[in-house]
């Protein structure tokens, strides 16, 4: 994957709703109860999950 940075989760903001999971075509995001994980090996940093997050809990870190 091209190195475009990685997506980081702000645990204090995340409301574990799963909206980000629904827009990820690579299935990189997974919600386990209240814990959102993002598999960097699957993520291509397309930013869709950052844009869909209702809480602003996701951001990209280079």
């Amino acid at each position: 994957m091209p190195d475009r940075g990685r997506i980081v989760v702000d645990r204090f903001k995340c409301a574990y709703c799963g909206a980000c999971v629904s827009v990820c075509k690579n299935n990189a995001n997974e919600l386990v109860e209240t814990f959102l994980t993002i598999d960097d090996s699957k993520c291509n940093c397309c930013m869709l999950c950052v844009k869909v997050c209702p809480m602003g809990a996701l951001s990209v870190k280079s």
Partner: protein
């Protein structure tokens, strides 16, 4: 390894209804739910039409939080349209307590004979000769069960479709990004006999703001925005609106977030697989409501699964009758409302204001989207010329 006729993934209203329907048809069915508590955390504003719900289940007081007599819709300049069933002297809507409702539905499925496992996630599906091998993770342990058919009722996060070859990934113009506060002390400012809806692209781009009463002065106060149209987060727009309304943030008892699919799909079944509810994008593109359709689809899915098991035919072709039955039942309305949604999303706030004014003085008794749109078309034939044949 346990063998089932059907494994249902997800114990929301869609999954539990599907499992109940399977069990009643005499199938051996298992529901797996990844969360440890069915129904919590809630991702819903909990509003349903009274008559539609009553057509599906026997109404129980213990999962009704409140009843409403109608709705008030506010255009961007706050022109109010009141939709009321007053004349009929009848409450038209329920606000559910989904933590209780979802559990009750799951128990109904169990009573009918379904097995249920919570804290158990489906993590993949393999085709195993004449059956499916459903890979599960329960509290950190991995195991498989086999099934003849999988019903994907795994909500907006759905993976089942993708595993089985239907790409359900949502685009940014196919989802509403939502946040909601359950607040108390709202009865001083708002009429709690009504649901309230605020429209306007500047205050809620590509969506709407809602207030659904939950009894004793409390209500679900929330927003949905379309990420392709919104520059900021859903939370930003909701907080800004509440501030403008003069609602303090000191009486919030619960925060809810979520995504709703608002773009129906052509194909919702394939070989050995049926999708139900939000996983099948069965929520309404205009209202975002998905509880009723999830249940209707679930009921149909159970019947089709049973037919497939009896005929021992799990082909995509045979199961496509599910698509057809859903389309006949509610899918046509979804497609029509998608066309309407696209049109409304293009309208400027000024147009919405004019439309609201065009309805002034009219006593609206038909509460449905269809009813309102019919009246709008009659009063604004030029704007809606292209929708005439769809609605009238």
């Amino acid at each position: 390894m346990s063998e089932y006729d059907v494994v249902v993934v997800g114990a929301g209203p869609g999954g539990s209804t599907a499992a109940k329907s399977c069990a009643e048809e005499g199938l051996n069915v298992l529901i797996v739910e990844k969360r440890q508590e069915i129904g919590a955390p809630v991702r819903c504003a909990e509003g349903v039409s009274k008559s539609e719900l009553a057509s599906l289940v026997e109404i129980k007081k213990r999962w009704i939080a409140a009843e409403v007599a109608g709705a008030k819709v506010y255009s961007p300049d706050n022109t109010v349209i009141t939709l009321s069933a007053e004349q009929a002297g009848n409450e038209v809507g329920y606000i559910l307590e989904r933590k209780i409702f979802d559990r009750w539905l799951a128990k109904q499925a169990a009573k009918a004979g379904a097995d249920i496992l919570v804290k158990t996630a489906a993590i993949g599906i393999e085709k195993d000769g004449e059956a499916l091998k459903i890979k599960l993770r329960r509290a950190g342990e991995f195991f498989d069960v086999t099934a003849k058919i999988v019903i994907g009722a795994d909500g907006v996060e759905s993976r089942v479709g993708k595993w089985m070859g239907i790409d359900t990934t949502l685009k940014l113009n196919e989802i509403e990004s939502c946040v909601q506060y359950l607040m108390t002390g709202l009865d001083e400012k708002y009429d709690m006999d009504y649901c309230h809806f605020w429209l306007g692209h500047s205050r809620c781009p590509g969506g709407y703001i809602w207030l659904f009463p939950k009894g004793n002065g409390s209500a679900n106060f929330g927003i949905g925005v379309m990420p392709s149209m919104a520059k900021e987060t859903a939370k930003y727009y909701l907080d800004r609106f509440l501030e403008a309304e003069g609602i303090g943030m000191s009486k919030v008892v619960e925060v809810v977030a979520g995504g709703v699919p608002v773009s129906p799909m052509e194909k919702i079944s394939t070989e050995r697989c049926l999708l139900v509810g939000d996983a099948a994008r069965h929520a309404d593109p205009i209202t975002g409501g998905g509880i009723i359709n999830a249940m209707r689809g679930g009921k149909i899915a159970g019947k089709v699964a049973a037919e497939a098991v009896r005929k021992n035919d799990f082909s995509a072709r045979f199961l496509s009758r599910y698509d057809k039955l859903c389309k006949e039942d509610f899918g046509k309305t979804l497609e029509r409302n998608k066309i309407l949604q696209k049109k409304i999303l293009k309208m400027k706030d000024e147009t919405l204001n004019n439309l609201a004014k065009s309805l002034e003085g009219y006593r609206m008794e038909d509460m449905s989207v269809t009813g309102i749109v019919k009246e709008l078309i009659k009063r604004n034939p030029k704007i809606f010329w292209d929708l005439k044949s769809l609605f009238l």
